[in-house]
Amino acid sequence: MSETSESDEVRELFVQDGVLLFSAAASFINFVKSVGTLMITEYSDGTKFIEWKPIDVTVDSDIQDQEWAVVNTVEKRIRTLSGTVPPEHKNRSKYLRISFEDIKSFRISDKSRRLTLNDGKSEPICTYLFQHGNCDHLVGCLKTLVKTVASRRDKHLFIIPDIKDPEHEKIDRSFAELNVCTDSAYAWKLWNNFQERPVVATFEAFAKITDLVYRGPEHREIDADDVKEILNRSITEYESTTTTHSQGDYEVIDVPDLPKRRDFPRGKPLNLEQWLGVQDNEGRIEDSECIKLMIFQGGIVPSLREEVWKYLLDYYPWNCTKIERQKLVSQKNDEYFSMKLQWKTMTKTQEDNFTDYKERKTQIEKDVSRTDRTIDFYAGDNNPNLQILNDILMTYVMYNFDLGYVQGMSDLLSPILHLMQSEVDAFWCFVGFMNKLSSNFDADQVGMKEQLSNLHTILAFIDPDLAAYFDSHDSGNMFFCFRWLLVWFKRELSEEDCMSFWEVLWTGFPCDNFHLLICCAILTEEKRKLMDNNFGFTEILKHINELCGQLNVEKILNDAQGIFYQIKESEQLTDVVRLLLGLPILSNNSFDNHETSPFEESIDASNGSSSSPPKCSVDNVRISPDEVTFEKSLSSNFL
């Protein structure tokens, strides 16, 4: 935090708004938790700084730590520029200014939302929290200005090597010798890439060389083998003394070369003949996987749905006989009606003294009257089917009081009841569906946040450009996919389409979280429209909301399947993505890092029967007693 005279010319090389000073040295304690602008500046004497200046808004830690807190309709600046600064910005006395020389390393955490600067002493200089998007742009800019080396011990830590260190001169020399990289910053970028992604980086180096070779006589022509040798030599030299390959960076800079997307035309729906064919004499289905695969590929003929859905939704076990099924049905029938009786017999007084129950009841009433009223089956006043919809949801409250009723559930039940036309069957099928989707309705919405975060992870793998675009347009939280995921596209599709879509997803083929690949399929399809129009948060949300009624189920299933194979066959497939899709993990060393994200930790839980509750993904949340009281008063009914 050095002093610079006011008369200096200042060039702002990079500016990003909406950066919160999360922690800093005591002298800046007043600004901690305020939002400001982060800049990279260069003064006329050539010294460079990272500067942060507060804007006069203080934000409660609660708000800035909310995962969705990136929402604002005002455009945010992220820019790289080189003009000099207008006079009124010259007074930089309030700024937290850190000289490049003082920065020995920086650490990126919280999915690139946090950046900590260190001066090599025990306490960090400061930590910034990027409320809008992440620090990728800043770090990208930083990396072009200084040399950075990924730490061997901590893949999120980047060391800025001391230029006077003889080891570094050696490398500079090697690159100079190479005469490939005209500026040393590029050489260092290449070097870093080489460490992180040897294959890609080498190709990049060769590409650069090819460039030079074709560019003409003023450049020395180099034999590719020479280059390789020099590169190798400098790398091994460096490696033996200071660092080693660090696997996986916090970001993927290069677009992974995915295999070409193949076409997977939909197959024929499962028909009666095939269905009867897989049953043995007593009505058992031996090879359920085969049936599921057929359904995955082509769905089910509508007349057969009512029966097959009971298996897909775990009401009927696949291997039960016809007789066992009859027994099961009568038993489930009794069970249902005894639960129904529990709430049916509740007196007015009981209800009045049971706020949680009453609240659920009111909410169900409110929503049932606004569920699929456009469909004949539920249309008109006093439609008895609405009453059944209501009763099933009420009985579900008694069946699973902790989960209760949450908006969206009526949408999930409606097509099932319409198809089954039987209260009891519909109830048990709904139970099966809810077992698959219950985390969508968590009290704290952790399940939804996790899914959106997982969607981002997968998208960043298959289309880093698009993921980066969302990040830099306040949409990295993928909130705009909320409705898609909450009710599995129910609101986007017609009832018929929805049915044929859900049954495919229920099969569990071809991988876990296939619905996230569906989202990716749609998003990559919309990519050009979103990016060419330079849509920001609101426009993205609007555009996605307006896809309602526009989606072609066959196409999105086909595309998503194509994406699945692209991922699966990709050479750069990471363990994180493998885990998400339930693919076998190849290496087991990538999770020994302490920066494991919360969703990664809870993957096992969410795959199984969620034995341990997933952790909240915001670390270091500080809640004041006041906030706790407020939270309680707002959500007392769910505590």
């Binding site: 804007i55 006069d56 808004v57 934000v59 409660d60 708000i63 909310q66 995962e67 969705w68 807190a69 990136v70 929402v71 604002n72 309709t73 005002v74 909410q363 409110k366 929503d367 009257s369 606004r370 569920t371 699929d372 009223r373 456009t374 249309a379 949450v406 908006q407 969206g408 949408d411 309705f441 009290a443 704290d444 919405q445 939804m448 909130f479 909320f482 409705r483 909450l486 009710v487 609101r491 609101t538 949300l541 609007k542 909301n545 407020f630 707002l634 959500s635 009914n637 769910f638």
Partner: protein
């Protein structure tokens, strides 16, 4: 004044105003928005999932205001998903249904939630408007009287309130106009305090003063 709002001062002819509609489920928030934006009322509308928004231009005193109207799902469970959208709001419409007392009782909760998450500084007057919807319903169904509503508004320092019917299109335009007027009024006052010498402010002051009659009372400070 937050920076977000500073940026949106009506220095140009077209001003973007972010409006959030809050209130319990089924009071008619989505219907109000759709009536205002497309002058339609859908008996069979769905309950809102997630967050939706629509834009609509509104002309007032020779100025065009683009209202960006945000409609959210009301259920408690979705609070963490809804509240981030409060930030940067210019206007907050607190809604209830006149045939449902409990939705009226919850106005306080909605107001508190908004103030907290919209990050409005304490004691800063904010353009709230209270809307009692479903005024088309017969008096036998009414559970909240106009007097009750006015009392609550007075107690809470809210000077703009109105009863509407999204179904009959009654007062819906007026509600949004009233909200914008309230915004102009507070914004002008804020401008006057901050920048005492400014032509545009004087100009606007005239407009507003000529029309204070549409805003009932003035005890908002």
């Amino acid at each position: 004044m937050s920076s977000a709002r500073v940026n949106m001062r009506p220095s140009s002819k077209n001003t973007l105003l972010k409006v959030v509609i809050l209130g319990d489920g089924r009071v008619g928030k989505s219907c109000l928005m759709n009536r205002f934006v497309s002058n339609q009322f859908d008996e069979h509308s769905f309950h809102t999932i997630g967050v939706e928004f629509l834009n609509k231009d509104l002309n007032l005193d020779d100025c065009t205001y683009t209202l960006q109207i945000w409609d959210t799902a009301g259920q408690e469970r979705f609070r963490t998903l809804r509240t981030p959208f409060y930030r940067g709001s210019d206007i907050c419409m607190l809604t209830y249904a006149i045939d449902d007392k409990s939705t009226f009782s919850n106005l306080q909760m909605w107001k508190n939630e908004f103030l907290y998450y919209a990050d409005i500084k304490e004691n800063t007057p904010f353009p709230f408007i209270v809307v009692g919807n479903k005024s088309d319903l017969s008096s036998t169904e009414r559970e909240v009287s106009q007097v009750e509503m006015e009392t609550w508004c007075n107690e809470n320092g809210i000077t703009s309130y109105i009863e509407t019917s999204a179904k009959d299109a009654n007062n819906v335009q007026e509600a949004f106009r009233m909200a914008v007027r309230q915004w102009i009024k507070l914004e002008t006052r804020a401008d006057k305090n901050e920048i005492p010498f400014n032509d545009t402010v004087d100009l606007k002051t005239k407009h507003v003063e000529g029309r204070t009659s549409c805003c009932i009372g003035s005890g908002d400070e």
